[in-house]
């Protein structure tokens, strides 16, 4: 007699948890969807921009006003990637990440016996590097009181380095570990650093207004601006150097060994 009651209670509990899970998942989905609204032309232009960022002129994202959820107000939202070349997207980073994994597995395979375990090894190590960078970014955002929506933008911008990394490992595979591959590495590292510096200037450095520090007290804008500038500088140069070295170190050298 207690069994149907217990069954109903268990079913209600399960139903409640799946509802909550579904609500959370749909919330993640709706925040990620603007990052994937891309077109063919956007991807081509953005790839060209990543390889050749030196002469690109306006780096700020465009925004429009649109009627917000509250009635009678308008809010300014950034344009989606399909309308604005400077908007970050997650399609290119994701695809270049997967291409990097497959390409490095293929290069390992061409140098010797291929085994599908290789896919798992390279996937896990690359994923580990990305996760570590994500943790560092999250820590930086917390210390500098940067919001969560900007964290997603930062993740997208950091993923662009995989495009350069793919070119580097292709060059290393084709020409060995000599001066050509170091030149290619240097070029793409500088291109990525320049791209990040220019793009993140508008994201991280606020022009006006007070910002709050991590401990809740408002901080003078100039001090916050200086901190964030240092963060931007360190992130663009030092961190990217470390990660690009790590990602390109193991691949391609197996060919000679």
């Amino acid at each position: 007699m207690a069994a149907p009651m217990a069954f109903n209670m268990a079913r209600a509990a399960m139903g409640g948890s799946t509802e909550m899970a579904e609500k959370n998942i749909s919330r993640y989905f709706s925040t990620l969807k603007p990052f994937f609204a891309v077109t063919n032309i956007y991807v081509i232009r953005k790839l060209y921009l990543l390889v050749n960022p030196w002469r690109h002129s306006p780096w700020s994202r465009q925004s429009t006003t649109r009627a917000s959820a509250n009635r009678g107000e308008t809010e300014t939202v950034y344009l989606q990637p399909r309308e604005d070349i400077n908007a970050p997207d997650m399609y290119i980073p994701l695809m270049s990440f997967v291409t990097y994994i497959l390409l490095s597995a293929l290069l390992y395979g061409l140098s010797g016996t291929f085994h599908p375990e290789m896919l798992g090894y390279t996937a896990s190590s690359a994923l580990g590097a990305v996760m570590f960078e994500l943790v560092c970014l999250k820590l930086g955002c917390y210390l500098l009181s940067i919001g969560n929506s900007t964290l997603l933008d930062l993740v997208a911008y950091s993923g662009y380095k995989f495009v350069g990394v793919i070119f580097i490992i292709l060059a290393t595979a084709m020409t060995g570990s000599g001066w050509i591959s170091w030149t290619v590495f240097g070029y793409f590292y500088l291109a990525q650093a320049f791209f990040l510096l220019r793009s993140l200037k508008y994201v991280l450095l606020p022009e006006d207004g007070q910002v709050e520090a991590a401990n809740g007290y408002p901080m003078a804008p100039r001090q916050m601006r200086k901190r964030r500038t240092w963060f931007l500088f360190g992130y663009s140069y030092v961190v990217q150097f470390i990660f690009m070295m790590t990602l390109t170190s193991g691949v391609g050298k197996v060919k000679g060994a």
Partner: protein, 269 residues
């Protein structure tokens, strides 16, 4: 006891011929004649046995079977798929529809014709699973035992592709996972062919590379046609095709490389 073993099947052999394959599918998949394909004629036997429950009872066992809702008695009937009077035939109940499977396979094999957008509405995974197992079998015959990796890559890749296409699609269209897994599995067919060729002729050479690349391009073209048609994203055509190309090239890599799968080679990282 003797009345159970008095052979009702023999009495209905004549009934088979008359009713065989005429009313094979009754409800949603339309009328299919048993004479069109040999496979359906072969299964007409099952259908005929399925009809045993639905035909009006022959006199000898009617008294016994009538109060069980038409269920046939006897040990021969126990091995058949006959059931109660109001049960549909077995393959229809399982949802296996050979006409649709054949139609979808032909749509993949002939990518130059326009794809009917609603063909994939009847999504089944029986065909894709058969293709995956066939792919693994051909690889096995050429010395590469990679069944686990094939299933793993297929599952992980299809889930990620489904998530990616859901994120990329406009809000008006949507996919569910079964449908995208079904499309991906059907478009694996050209790679099954190339791995079948790999049984006889080793693919690890220039001709093999060329064949595998051609098979990957064929699969990608067919799959991207179907996805672009279902999602309605014509301006993202190449963006849809690129992840599909990556997915199928993993299968292509597995079919070219990787013979003598004994132990792993740990990379120097």
């Amino acid at each position: 006891m003797a009345q159970f073993f008095s052979p009702p099947p023999q009495q209905q052999q004549g009934g088979y011929g008359a009713q065989n394959g005429l009313q094979f599918y009754q409800s949603q998949y339309g009328q299919v004649s048993g004479h069109t394909t040999p496979s359906q004629g072969g299964y007409g036997g099952f259908g005929g046995m399925g009809q045993m429950g639905t035909t009006p009872m022959v006199s000898s066992a009617s008294g016994v079977a009538g109060d069980r809702g038409g269920l046939r008695m006897g040990w021969l009937a126990a091995f058949g798929t006959g059931g109660y009077d109001d049960e549909p035939p077995l393959l229809e109940e399982l949802g296996v529809n050979f006409t649709h499977i054949k139609g979808k396979t032909l749509a993949v094999l002939n990518p130059l014709q326009t794809v009917d957008q609603h063909m994939m509405d009847d999504s089944d995974v029986a065909g894709p699973i058969i293709f995956c197992v066939l792919f693994g079998t051909f690889l096995l015959l050429s010395g590469k035992v990679h069944f686990g990796y094939i299933y793993g890559v297929a599952l992980l890749g299809s889930i990620s592709l489904h998530l990616l296409f859901n994120l990329m699609s406009p809000p008006t269209h949507s996919l569910n996972y079964i449908r995208s897994a079904s499309v991906l599995g059907y478009c694996l067919l050209p790679l099954v062919f190339s791995s079948g060729l790999g049984v006889a002729y080793p693919l690890d050479g220039l001709v093999g590379y060329f064949l595998s690349v051609a098979a990957i391009v064929w699969s990608t073209y067919a799959a991207s046609n179907m996805f672009v048609g279902v999602l309605g994203v014509r301006e993202m055509r190449w963006l849809v095709a690129y992840p599909l190309a990556l997915f199928y090239s993993v299968f292509g890599i597995m079919s070219i490389f990787g013979s003598k799968a004994s132990g792993g080679v740990a990379p120097k990282l």
